[in-house]
Symmetry: C2
Amino acid sequence: MKSFLSLILLSFSMLVSAQESISIGNKYSIYSEVLGENRPYWVCLPAMYNNPDYGKASYPVIYLLDGDTNFTTMVAIQDRFTKGMYCNMPECIIVGIPNTDRTRDMTPSKSELIRDGKPLFSNSGGAENFTNFLTKELRNRIDSTFRTSGYNLLVGHSFGALFAINTLLHHSEAFHAYVALDPSLWWDNRKVYSEAEKIWKTKQFQKRNLFVAMAKNEDRPDDTQKHSATIHQFCTEVLPSSPRNGLTTAWKYYEAEDHGTVILPGVYDAMRTVFEGIELPVKQIPKNPGLIKEHYRKLSERLGFHFIPSETMVDNIGKYALSIENKKGAKAIFEYNLKNYPESKNALKSLSLTEGY
Amino acid sequence: MKSFLSLILLSFSMLVSAQESISIGNKYSIYSEVLGENRPYWVCLPAMYNNPDYGKASYPVIYLLDGDTNFTTMVAIQDRFTKGMYCNMPECIIVGIPNTDRTRDMTPSKSELIRDGKPLFSNSGGAENFTNFLTKELRNRIDSTFRTSGYNLLVGHSFGALFAINTLLHHSEAFHAYVALDPSLWWDNRKVYSEAEKIWKTKQFQKRNLFVAMAKNEDRPDDTQKHSATIHQFCTEVLPSSPRNGLTTAWKYYEAEDHGTVILPGVYDAMRTVFEGIELPVKQIPKNPGLIKEHYRKLSERLGFHFIPSETMVDNIGKYALSIENKKGAKAIFEYNLKNYPESKNALKSLSLTEGY
């Protein structure tokens, strides 16, 4: 009985601290047959995901490499870009994948590089296995656990960015958008770089997007790998400058950022670039509610995937219309929201605000 | 007995979810005598704050207005800027203050503005009270609960940015650095704007910093408040363009950002600007370990406050020196760290790696 009581007390004290914690997601894990090991993954769900008053929306998924280190950054950017009435990206499910053996998983070939008589990357070359883990095992788990829309993004930095470009080349069907932050394209005598040169000339892509961020790193004269010079040459000479064979690319050079700090502004710009056109001309919408649908039609066409606007955002725009006394506009906006989310109590309640009009 | 068991089961199920949660801080609250109400506040501590192997450092505090909405953004930026060897700001304690009555607390005067026959901001003018809450009640709580260094920053957006500038004018001793993101300087016929014009010409400041971010918002011709035009005029005509009377100011215009999105890049640039010079020439340090101290001496002199480098960062630089086989440099770096954090087991352990040199 005494142990019962102390157990309850312990549980309660932890309950209290749990209630007071500020959480941005949850940690899970999955056993990977392909990799022969347990893999943790971190998940952040959109704000209204579990709100019973809202419609049961489906969401794009962002697969984030170096998932622990970059998790807060990705969460903060999505948070920023999906607030209020002006959204610069859709609400997404963020799946961060922490590393167990980063070099093994991210690199597409075994490097023979030697330093001081020892192989520098003895365990490299496991990208194909990791792609299988990511696009089969983990994808199945995510798609069967959460309400995913089927639109997937891959975000990687450094070796992770090398992995992202390699995946785009050899498994382009796996993700719709690829974000490569300061990619290690020097890898194995520019293996991925050279493949891109060939593959991008001929391969047909199904409306894929690639964003490359380049930091300011000064390559030392004695450094034969020339990390930065390689990225620069890749961006200016290999990346198609306009959409080609279904592949749209963009790149940006960050004068003020180094290899480490480029992640935050790189992801920020990547989301804006991939989802260009998603931001609505909010002030015009009360007078012309059809603009929302029209904007999303164009976005969907450009990205080759059917997107519908977030319930929260449209609700906010409807309430803005009410605030400027445009009941007619508000009614049309709320009706459109209810059409997208027919089971939403929230959308129905908002529509009732325009009753009698 | 049955209810006992179900209580335990419930507690356990919540324990499991609590263990798996990804937390970026904790929520607390304090009763404010000045405001006559309970106020929540959110706190994020530096990564190693509670690690018993590390020295017991003291930290600057960032007081963040609209504290719930902006918390993840501030946490992500601090996380990004204090990783590894290249730090762009010191590790800080982040204190987010959610609103209870935003207009009341953030505005320095009672506005007589009328719209459609009704006063628009009937409850305005409570900034003086809120300043007292912030700089006395909450400051006492934070300083007595956490290891604070005494260096304080205030970060505000919109009405919060108006509040920040007002506090700098009338209580400049309260914070060392002020970040004003797209400030509502139109408030009450430019009250704060006009005061700044006068006060900044004569008042002596004790090495204070102000960073102003201006978003791209187009003022409508019929909008008499002219939010953006007012900020622009303030930045170009009122802000001293070089340090004057102990006040250093900087401002930046964000062509790509609106009133909402300017927060993230604004805070990002603000931290870099306030703490300019904190980033170390890492590659030169193994050969010249005294550079760390020299850099921090200059930073401390410029900011009028004694800063010492983070234990983690210096430890990382020492390990970098080891990785390039500079044991002499590593030893000096680890010794310097142990001098700053004499009770640190971690610093002692790192120093032992250079034994025999």
